[in-house]
Amino acid sequence: MIYLDFAAATPVDERVFKAMEPYFLSDFFNPSAPYLPAKRVKEAYEEAKNELAHAIGAKGADLVMTAGATESINLAMSVASGKILYLTTEHAAVRESARRFGLSFEEIAVDKTGLIDLSDLRAKLSGDVAMISVSAANNELGTIQPLSAIAEIVREEKQKRLARGDKTPLYLHSDASQAMSLIDINVRRLGVDLLTINSAKVYGPKGVGALYIAHGVDVKPLVFGGGQERGLRSGTENVPGVIGFAKAAVIAKEHINGNRKKYEKLGAILREELKKCAIEPVFLGNKKHSLTNFCTVSFPGIDAERLIYKLESREIYISTGAACAASKGEKSHVLTAIGLSDTEIAGSIRVTMGVLNDEEQIRTAAREIVEAVNEEAERTGLVGGQK
């Protein structure tokens, strides 16, 4: 098997799995229970939260643990007391929750590489905007957004509001699910008020996420009950999940530089090999500002879904755009937003590398992709059949 869809799911790191194991089997106590072993579990949980928070330059108390990025994003959007601006290429979790929680919403445009159009942001940043949501890196293209620059625009707007005595709060949220294992995420340096992170994308267990909340952001719970997570997210703590997420985040942080270089090298090989296709590949995303493990590419005229089914029978697993968009039978809103034609969108695949991949795998996968593209091109008469 050659797995090349790490943006969709990552395998749990064995060290992570080992760290979680005792909290399933022996140290299973409810952290709120009154006896000593339970208290120790509570301490281990808090310690894990601290470690996780440190990995993004925050404190344990700044995090609310959730059941994944979607929940974190919903909680973040629920803070908005006015209009929500979000990048047109945001994940459905942002778009759908912004529509639900915002008094109104508007999309910020991106350029052809998926990079935010800062002038569009400035133009749309009116006095009634209460929330801006921009992902740290896009999940279909890997394009990394200039969050610090966005935070600076937000800061200026906040100053203007204060200067005229306007107390309308304005917050910047970022979904860093895709980015966390590949670029250094530091909430202070980025200047975000709210940040979503997701264990499932960093070799941790699925169903665990967190929302970082800066001081002074007035978050109200969406889930009510026993008052866990400072009342912001009731429900017995997912101790093994959070232990695993913390461990995964620490490991990811240690390997950020090594991995970045590895994927840069593998990505270059992959792109070079794909140029051997009978159809010229169109590489998507931003050359300079991109997660290095991403290679989103279009073969115009080819039906990418057919490529995926061909490759799956050779045990090579890649994706078209985001899994959700594809399974809904809709065309990718991200690829539409960057101005691709329907033919280019239909011919787009997303290859995302991860720890399991090595050069041999990438070369094999590239060869198989080229073969599948050529077979399809020939079958549909896009290129003449040479015998």
Partner: protein, 362 residues
């Protein structure tokens, strides 16, 4: 048949592919037989659940996977609007009138063997094919060899023209053999769970489906014999004659719905299986469709896979007809189809021709 392989031309067949094993094997067989095969997924209407992943996405992916595996072209025909109008709305209207329609029959008549057939022909198909268990001798629709799977009941209202241009590759096969073939062809869906019930209703039952479109209106459940009120229901239209479950009346011996008064919104039930409302010796039919000359003595099937009952068919005016039986039969609900089989007047196993059908009046 218009064109055959023997003519030396490779006829183009558009195969309706649902993602299930039957239509997948059909496509594989046609390809092996030398046809130029194009797989088509018909996107029919499904209820819009806000925020929910569309239920057909997995089926579409399964169908396309098989097409890729077989190396055939694949298309998606979007029939959502027509399906909603001609099948779903029809079904809702019938229920509102207190009847029990059969949407699968309507789907075959209006969508699969009309719209799909027309669009396929427009796009260059010489023939169409489906994974139905049925046969075709070039002119007549015939029962499948697999008596257990025979689907001619659902196909009873399709046109002669469509039959002439349709191939049913599974007509001579038994279901277990189809599964084996799927394995042989390496199809991933060889063991896919078969879809049951009305396709667009999905996993929710028909009653839950109807509730979303038809307002509830509480009414009485009365004993058909004594006229006593036994309980209350949430709308007579949600009930079907012969229904035994979900009646909200006492335990013990089960009650059956024997009659509905739609105007007064009363459901009549009985514990007596011999209640006269439940039995009849004749049926009035409307909207008759008959292919070819049909004799007076026929066999009739009143639901999918039900036994063939001998009957006398008398045609009336304006597509009406009457069926007379020698013995009393359990009365089917109005709106259901009575399907006519011919080919032998005495031996039901030899009455292989599905000659048409009518809608039970009432």
């Amino acid at each position: 048949m218009t064109k055959t392989i023997a003519d030396g031309v490779k006829p183009t067949v558009f195969v309706g592919m649902s993602g299930g094993v039957d239509s997948s094997v059909s496509a594989a067989l046609l390809k092996d037989a030398g046809y130029n095969v194009v797989g088509v997924y018909m996107k029919n209407w499904s209820k819009d659940l806000p925020g929910m992943k569309c239920p057909w996405a997995d089926d579409l992916a399964d169908a396309k996977r098989v097409a890729v595996k077989l190396g055939i072209d694949f298309k998606v025909f979007d029939f959502e609007k027509d399906y909603k109008q001609k099948v779903v709305d029809y079904m809702l209207e019938e229920f509102k009138r207190g009847r029990t329609p059969n949407p699968d029959i309507m789907c075959n008549q209006e969508i699969k063997f009309k719209l799909f057939y027309d669009v396929a022909r427009e796009q260059g198909a010489d023939l169409i094919a489906t994974g139905h268990y049925a046969k075709n001798d070039g002119k007549n629709l015939l029962r499948a060899v697999d008596e257990n799977k025979d689907q001619t009941y659902f196909l009873c209202r399709i046109s002669e023209d469509a039959i002439e241009h349709t191939i049913f590759p599974l007509g001579d096969m038994l279901k277990p053999d189809v599964k084996k073939l799927a394995e042989k062809y390496g199809l991933h869906n060889a063991y896919k769970k078969e879809s049951m019930g009305v396709c667009f209703v999905g996993d929710v039952g028909i009653r839950d489906f109807l509730r979303e479109y038809i307002d509830e209106e509480p009414g009485e459940i009365r004993d058909a014999e004594t006229d006593n009120v036994l309980g209350y229901h949430e709308g007579a239209i949600f009930y079907t004659i012969g229904q035994r479950h979900g009646l909200n009346v006492g335990g013990g011996i089960p009650y059956y719905v024997v009659k509905k008064d739609i105007a007064k919104n009363i459901v009549y039930v009985s514990q007596n299986l011999n209640n006269e409302e439940l039995w009849t010796k004749s049926l009035k039919l409307t909207e008759m469709i008959l292919r070819g000359d049909v004799p007076e003595i026929v066999f009739v099937r009143l639901r999918h896979r039900a036994e063939l009952i001998p009957a006398m068919l008398k045609l009336g005016n304006d597509d009406t007809a009457e069926l007379k039986f020698t013995e009393e039969i359990k009365a089917p609900a109005a709106g259901q189809s009575a399907v006519i089989y011919t080919g032998d007047a005495k031996d039901s196993s030899k009455a292989r021709v599905c000659a048409g059908g009518g809608i039970i009046a009432g």
